[in-house]
């Protein structure tokens, strides 16, 4: 049973008593202005539903093209997977590895870990390997870059306009949705599971 009546600001080490927050409230550090606590909006069921949705979207855009290129009778398209493979063929496969890590591997692992943790959390228990999974999620957090990739898609569309006709596809909208989901869940409130499952 590891809880504490205190919370500590991670930016300046100020200590506060844990505040009682109501909906949409957050507590700011008096010293440095960082958010030290916020009310979390989602129940475990809701988080789980969103994680499953994120998983399906991710699977979809791994293989369904996010962009398409048309000229005369020829059509080229690129899914998440194609993008990574395109870099792998060139002289710089290390770059492909980095991209694969940031836009396929990290989001996929985040989704799988969240579903695993939340499925068990519904029954009020800690999933097997709870500690390891939570630590992995915390470590992965800065390295998922789907939203940057999304902006990249938009830039690419405009860049190719003119000589060629690049068109966004259903996949691009899926990617937009997915980025929002990942920011909303994996980005913020996962660590609260520590408190929900003592």
């Amino acid at each position: 049973m590891y809880t504490s009546p205190y919370i500590i600001c991670e930016y300046c080490d100020s200590v506060y008593h844990r505040p009682q927050l109501s909906l949409h409230q957050k507590a700011l550090c008096q010293r440095c202005g960082a958010v030290v606590a916020r009310h979390n909006l989602l129940s475990i069921d809701q988080s789980l539903a969103l994680s499953v949705a994120a998983g399906m979207l991710l699977l979809f855009i791994c293989f369904y093209p996010v962009l398409m290129l048309k000229a005369q009778d020829q059509i080229n398209s690129a899914s998440l997977f194609d993008t990574v493979l395109a870099l792998a063929e060139g002289p710089i496969s290390l770059m492909a590895l980095m991209s694969a890590f940031a836009i396929v591997f990290v989001p996929a692992l985040q989704v799988v870990l969240m579903i695993w943790l939340l499925v068990h959390a519904r029954g009020g228990v800690r999933a097997p390997a709870f500690r390891g999974c939570m630590r992995a999620l915390a470590a992965l957090r800065p390295w998922g870059m789907l939203e940057v990739f999304l902006l990249g898609c938009l830039v690419a569309v405009v860049k190719l306009k003119g000589p060629l006709d690049a068109a966004p596809t259903l996949g691009l909208f899926a990617l937009g949705f997915l980025s929002l989901l990942m920011i909303g869940m994996a980005g913020r409130d996962v660590h609260l599971l520590w408190e929900k499952l003592p």
Partner: protein
Amino acid sequence: MTPPFAEQLNLRLCHCCRLACPADESAANCPRCGSPLHMRKPNAIARTWALMLAALVFYIPANVLPIMHTDALYRESSTTILGSVVTLWQGGAWDIAAIIFIASVGVPVTKFLVLGLLLITVQRGSLRSRRERTVLYRALELIGYWSMLDVFVAALLVSLVQFGVFGTIEPRLGILFFGLVVVLTMLAAQSFDPRLIWDTEPRNE
């Protein structure tokens, strides 16, 4: 009334699960998640300097070397990042030119400047505008990976424009260095400890 510091209450923050851990002699790891506990991140200043300088060195080839090679119907060319910004600007796509310029030049240069400023002020034990410097650090975390933008744009162009009537686009070495710069600056920002800004006495950890 100002809040106490963790050290005064004999507490330590666990960086992984954010538990306020009792800082006994025996407790080297967080009782809840098992992560190692530190008063401050170990060797924060030296590590951040090293990673930042490495990133700075890689930033040179990232800008000098071409990031992709275009072989269209009419012409063949290799473009650097700045080259592509200029081409876009002249072609009238000033908005995209601005986005790429901000992501590829603005963000990394800001990171170098802000990290440098934080490191130097912390080393000198400066007490001025500590709140503002903490805000700067949080901004640094926020812009973290956005300079990866051009890497992804290049990757998308490469995978879209291959063979046939479109010509070809191939990736070039510059893009690899660019990716390394992003990773190194992210690691540098992570290894810095913003709590050092608030320490009034120097620490030897």
